[in-house]
């Protein structure tokens, strides 16, 4: 049992599918580097008289997700219109699915707070993304808003879970697993900005449910949920009621605020989209061949490379990381490769907010090779890695690790080459030597640390520790 067993969370995830063209027209989706309103046509601009035509690829992508998440695909599904006014919505309605979604009732297994658990998926459906508003700041009347319709009509998949999540951490784990699955399925590009948006329903058991809308990052989900749980628990503790409402997550401030505006009181007046025929795609599902998914790859990594469950889980939790690791493990010892990728490299990448795809694989392979052959200490290797990553960040050509080590004279010295250093350390720290002789083992660590410092990390602690110990060991029988 954990502290969050009274917390109930369900998620609605909107995710952009990485099709080449938009959901209902032929406009290309790769508008990222192009100017505003350059990837538009009468259809995605909602010009009078234009009609939507369904992109079969988007339907197929949706079905891939349905199959991977174990959903049932009904004989017939149907697009519907969600009617509301907003300047980014060119038709005054969004084409989405309502009471007849693409697929229903599935599940995804995650590592929960109390071990493995299935999170039930209620439904998935397809819908179109609206355009994007660009607010131009200005003093008073100068402020204005521009609309960019490049995003209008980009296919989205909406995935709705049952309220099966019990903590913000579980919610984050679910999202990570979902994202990995979508990437493995090659239907989603996680590096695309704004590619994923989450609405979360959250309640404390016995109290009203609150919807937090428009969380646009993974970290945001955990932050927003944590804030909400604290807020709701505080209300309950003070004897106040949690009000059933919609709240907005303020990413910058890490808080949620009530959205008591008219826009959330919309009656969307859904009705079947008369410009499209119902979809009959149940037959397509069988023909869809799923690729290896994260869990299968995790198990294969453990079996093939003999690495730990934790390492395997981390390395397969991101498609690009998994591919990076496999390329590395083909050239250096796999368990060492796993440690250096999952523990060291990933930490350094997260610190710099770098994707693994920017790491030069050859350089990293060489580095792990140096460690494996005992040519550098772990500490020196970390320094070399940092220099390598910093060079990438600064758009410099990274130096080959071997050259870097030579250039900076960082190769691991033979233990006896450090005799003079050990002599000096013992001479300079008589108190520590005395402490050790009196049985305080930690004093030895201090002396080793001093020796490392003098050699700028070149000495291998594993090798010099016994040397120092032997020099200062209490005399037998003394």
């Amino acid at each position: 049992m954990t502290e969050h067993t009274d917390v109930v969370i369900g998620l609605e995830i909107h995710c952009q599918l990485n099709t080449q063209t938009k959901l209902f027209c032929g406009c290309a989706t790769d508008y990222k580097t192009d100017g505003p309103n350059t990837h538009v046509c009468p259809i995605c601009l909602g010009l009078p008289g234009a009609l939507p035509m369904i992109n079969r690829k988007a339907v197929e992508y949706g079905l891939r997700v349905a199959k991977a998440l174990n959903l049932e695909v009904p004989e017939e599904s149907e697009f519907a219109r969600k009617n509301y006014f907003y300047p980014d919505l060119p038709k005054g309605y969004q084409i989405t699915m309502y009471d007849r979604p693409l697929a229903v009732r599935g599940h995804l297994e995650i590592e929960g707070d109390d071990g493995e658990k299935d999170i039930r998926i209620t439904r998935i459906h397809l819908e179109e993304d609206p355009g994007r508003l660009v607010h131009r700041a200005g003093a008073g009347r100068v402020a204005y808003t521009l609309v960019d319709y490049n995003r209008s009509g980009i296919p989205l998949i909406e995935i709705v879970t049952e309220p099966d999540l019990r903590s913000p951490k579980e919610a984050r784990r679910f999202l990570n697993k979902l994202r990995a699955t979508l990437e493995y399925l090659d239907v989603y590009d996680g590096e695309r900005e704004g590619g994923l948006r989450v609405d979360a329903n959250i309640s404390i058991r016995g109290s009203e449910r609150v919807e937090v809308k428009n969380i646009s990052s993974y970290r945001g989900v955990e932050k927003a949920l944590t804030f909400e749980i604290t807020r709701q628990k505080n209300l309950i503790r003070r004897g106040l009621r949690v009000v059933r409402e919609t709240r907005h997550f303020q990413e910058g401030r890490g808080i949620t605020t009530s959205a008591r505006s008219k826009e959330t009181e919309n009656d969307y007046r859904y009705f079947p989209e008369p410009d499209l025929r119902p979809l009959r795609v149940k037959d397509w599902v069988e023909a869809i061949a799923l690729p290896e998914l994260p869990d299968a790859r995790r198990d294969r990594f453990m079996a093939t490379y003999g690495i730990s469950l934790n390492h395997a889980r981390t390395l397969t939790g991101d498609l690009r990381l998994a591919e990076f690791y496999e390329a590395l493990a083909a050239k250096v010892e796999p368990t060492l490769a796993a440690t250096w990728t999952a523990d060291t490299l990933l930490g350094e990448l997260n610190y710099r907010d770098m994707p693994v795809t920017t790491v030069p694989l050859d350089h990293f392979t060489d580095l792990v090779g140096l460690v494996g052959r005992g040519e550098v200490t772990d500490r020196v290797a970390v320094d070399v890695l940092r220099a390598l990553l910093n060079a990438v960040v600064n758009n410099e050509t990274p130096v080959k690790p071997l050259d870097y080590v030579r250039e900076h004279n960082l190769g691991k010295g033979a233990a006896d080459a450090f005799a003079a250093v050990i002599d000096a350390v013992i001479a300079e720290n008589p108190q520590a030597v005395a402490d050790y002789r009196e049985g305080r083992g930690t004093a030895l660590n201090f002396l080793v640390g001093q020796a490392m410092k003098k050699t700028r990390g070149k000495a291998d602690p594993k090798e010099i520790t016994p040397l120092i110990a032997a020099r200062i060991a209490p005399k037998e029988g003394a």
Binding site: L47, P48, G49, L51, P87, Y93
Partner: protein, 433 residues
């Protein structure tokens, strides 16, 4: 290749936009001047739908049918007047003033394709494109004494037709005689990959009066019931008698679903309209939006000022019908009634080949007669809406006059059997000569 000098004088206000010099190509309609209802998009030519909200809107693309008409060599000589967004039976709700009936200029031409009908009836053009959501081709054809065909739903692409009620409407030909209607229909019918509701049934038929012999024609009692002018009923009965003389077999029958057809029609078309017309918010096209404190207010004012009274009425009706708590009571129920109409037709068409009756319950109204009483105007659609609800084809062919005003004979056919109703209309027309 060439161009047409179009210098006809428009004394009926049939056109919103006239192209005095129109280019044309080669093909079956080479050099034929064709008028296009102003709800069908034309690249480079203003397309207003008879509304202020689209005044100045010039589409960047041609509707599928306009591409086809041009490819057939026709010259698009102008955009015809209409009830705003097709919402009307008289062409009086146009923001560009009413069109008058060339037969009697104190009368309305019918609607909503009244401009196209008047352009043909006056002799300005030999043929025109109209659109029919609940009778908007057949009504003005009947009132002006010309021929108008509402095709099977999907047989002509709607791509580029500004939507009023997507599930009901379609584009069709209007002309002075059956042969020209058939010619224009053969140009515009066929599949279109840009319209998901389009069907692959091209039309290559040449009208023939030979098939009337032995044709079984059903005459539902409801088409001659309450609200139908007895003089009109008599004229149409006589026309059906003429068909019998030509060898057709007349079968008296009944269509009980007619009791709910009009209600089903108005709930469906207003619901769809409330959604379709939401895009006219002033952000992208049409007259400039006046900047207000909030976009909500700007939208409201823009729509209040630039949409006409009838359009606003239908948007509000449709918004209500789709609202939470009312959907089941109205929209869902209307779809049930709509299904009943379809089933009634299927039952009748198992026995008869064609269904005949009046197109309109009366002759053309006097100008202004219906403007103060929208409900009585809605009731005038009772005989035309069943074909739209079921998606079946129907043609209106002139069958004489009552007090000097034209009466239309309506012939309704099975799905994709335009050929048969055109043949029946052709036989009738020939016999009248």
């Amino acid at each position: 290749m060439g161009s047409v000098a179009f210098d006809a004088e428009d004394r009926w206000n049939a056109f919103i936009t006239i192209c005095r010099r129109a280019g044309h190509g080669d093909g079956p309609l080479a050099g034929v001047p064709v008028a296009v209802k102003d709800i069908i998009s034309t690249a480079g030519i203003q397309t207003t739908c008879g509304s202020l909200v689209l005044k100045g809107y010039v589409p960047p693309y041609d509707a599928h049918v306009v591409e086809l008409v041009k490819a057939a060599g026709a010259a698009v000589v102008g955009k015809t007047n209409m009830d705003e967004f097709g919402m009307g039976t008289t062409t009086e709700s146009s923001a560009f003033g009413p069109t008058t009936n060339p037969v009697d200029t104190t009368r309305v031409p019918g609607g909503s394709s009244g401009g196209s009908a008047a352009a043909v009836a006056s002799g300005m053009v030999p043929m025109a494109l109209g659109t029919d959501t609940g009778g908007s081709i057949r009504c003005p054809a009947a009132f002006c004494g010309i021929v108008g065909l509402k095709p099977t739903y999907g047989r002509v692409s709607r791509y580029g037709l500004v939507a009023y009620a997507n599930s009901l409407e379609g584009i069709g030909p209007m002309a002075g005689n059956v042969e020209d209607v058939s010619r224009l229909f053969s140009v515009i019918a066929g599949p279109d990959a840009r319209d998901a509701t389009s069907i692959d049934r091209p039309y290559t038929h040449t009208p023939s009066s030979d098939r009337i012999r032995g044709l079984r024609i059903g005459v539902p009692a409801e088409f001659f019931g309450e609200g139908v002018d007895p003089a009109v009923a008599e004229r149409v009965r006589a026309a059906i008698g003429d068909l019998a003389d030509l060898g057709a077999e007349i079968v008296e029958c009944s269509m009980p679903s007619m009791a709910f057809a009009l209600a089903a029609y108005y709930v469906t078309c207003t619901s769809e309209a409330s959604s379709n017309l939401a895009r006219f918010d002033g952000v992208r096209y049409g007259p400039d939006i006046v900047s207000k404190r909030s976009w909500h207010e700007a939208y409201q004012e823009h729509r209040r000022e630039h949409l006409g009274k009838e359009v606003r009425r239908r948007i509000m009706l449709g918004t209500f019908a789709l609202s939470a708590g009312y959907y089941g009571k109205y929209y869902a129920k209307a779809q049930e009634a709509r299904k009943n109409v379809g089933e009634d037709f299927a039952r009748l068409f198992a026995d008869v080949d064609v269904i005949a009756g009046p197109t309109m319950p009366t002759t053309a109204f006097a100008l202004g007669e219906k403007t103060a009483d929208p409900l009585s105007m809605y009731l005038a659609d009772i005989l035309t809406v069943p074909a739209n609800l079921a998606g079946v084809p129907a043609i209106s062919v002139p069958c004489g006059t009552v007090n000097g005003l034209p009466v239309g004979l309506q012939l309704i056919g099975r799905h994709c059997e335009e050929e048969l109703i055109i043949d029946a209309a052709c036989a009738y027309e020939e016999a009248q000569r």
